[in-house]
């Protein structure tokens, strides 16, 4: 390899991360615009029944292992002295029915975890009406839904944090 080629290769390795960094910064600067355009294109023609079917099929083979990992996470966090709260991610109310076969089982699992470890369970779903306008698909939130969710989450978190502060003072 001659010197020219070597220097070109070295220059490439200097430039490539910079280009990636610039592209990432641009995506950050543009914010949700490019991401949302991508999401809208991706989910516009989605067959939600088909998607739900796939989720449901995978659920029955993965749920046990996932529950074990979820328990492990909570054990790890509580052992370190941290508190844990589970948050239910909101869903498009009109599409919730598609997940009925697994929702009951999932809720039971979550309730078992909540009871076993005495963790808090935050449920923004019941705190507002969630419609199609709040989502790109069944569960990825649009900017409108995101604002709603963030505000509700803050509402739900404040009492928990306040409780912690009071407990610390006592």
């Amino acid at each position: 390899m001659n010197v020219t080629v070597l220097s070109d290769v070295l220059q490439f390795w200097q430039v490539a991360p910079r280009a990636l960094k610039q592209a990432t910064a641009r995506a950050l600067r543009e914010g949700p615009t490019s991401l949302h355009r991508h999401r809208i294109r991706k989910y516009r023609d989605l067959d939600y029944e088909d998607v739900a079917d796939k989720f449901i099929k995978k659920y029955w083979t993965s749920a046990d292992a996932n529950e074990a990992f979820r328990r492990e996470t909570i054990r790890t966090a509580t052992t370190s002295g941290n508190r844990v709260a589970l948050v239910e991610i909101p869903n498009d109310a009109a599409l919730l029915g598609l997940f009925d076969p697994i929702r009951a089982d999932c809720r039971q699992r979550v309730e078992r975890i909540v009871n076993d470890y005495s963790v808090d369970y935050l449920q923004p779903q019941s705190r507002s009406t969630w419609t199609k306008i709040d989502f790109f698909d069944t569960h990825h939130l649009s900017p409108a839904g995101r604002e709603k969710f963030a505000s509700i989450l803050a509402d739900l978190l404040v009492p928990l944090m306040h409780r912690d502060l009071v407990a610390e003072k006592e």
Binding site: F55, S62, A68, F69, R70, V87, R146
Partner: protein, 186 residues
């Protein structure tokens, strides 16, 4: 071959040919090696991933975890939100959440979101392990579709390790290959 002539001005076409051939061979060789390892696709995926989810990468996570570990967490009330794409895209910036919580609590509060890059529960377990004690509340997203995810598709234990994965949290920020919890899959 007349070497005297080759090193003179008349050698220019040969030099150009040599330069072209060097690059050609180099590109073909590198592409072949990289292609065998799936690099072009992985690189594209990575770029795509970073562009789509700028907050959702290990550099951001490592920075968040590091800042939590290094700072005096006793002075603030901390909330760490761990989740996948749904959780990350569902929230505004950490600064917005932090200032909102600070205002509502009338005491310094910090909100840090950490994304599980593979968006599964096993990954979140590892993040919790890396976080260690931060004296605050850990928020975990929970929803049926999350339970449907392949539980550990990126970190499968080798057969000789049984159900256990190598544990090494001494390196920080931790690497994909070594950061793992000894755990038994259900």
């Amino acid at each position: 071959m007349d070497y005297d002539r080759l090193v003179g001005a008349d050698a220019r076409p040969y030099r150009i040919l040599g330069w072209f051939l060097t690059w050609f061979v180099l590109i073909v060789a590198l592409s072949t090696i990289a292609g065998l390892h799936g690099w072009p696709w992985r690189l594209t995926e990575l770029q795509e991933y970073l562009l789509r989810h700028p907050r959702d990468n290990w550099l951001f996570n490592a920075f968040s975890i590091y800042s939590l570990r290094e700072s005096d967490t006793r002075k603030t009330t901390n909330v760490v939100y761990v989740g996948g794409s749904v959780c990350m895209e569902s929230l505004p910036s950490d600064d917005w959440m932090s200032s909102t919580l600070t205002t509502r609590l009338s005491t310094p509060a910090r909100f840090v979101s950490v994304c599980s890059p593979y968006q599964n529960f096993a990954d979140e377990a590892r993040i919790a392990h890396a976080l260690g004690a931060f004296d605050g509340i850990l928020i975990l997203g929970t929803e049926p579709v999350f339970f449907s995810k392949a539980p550990d598709r990126q970190f499968q234990a080798r057969p000789d390790q049984g159900s256990k994965v190598e544990t090494d949290t001494s390196t920080f920020p931790y690497r994909h290959s070594c950061a793992a919890l000894p755990m038994t899959q259900g």
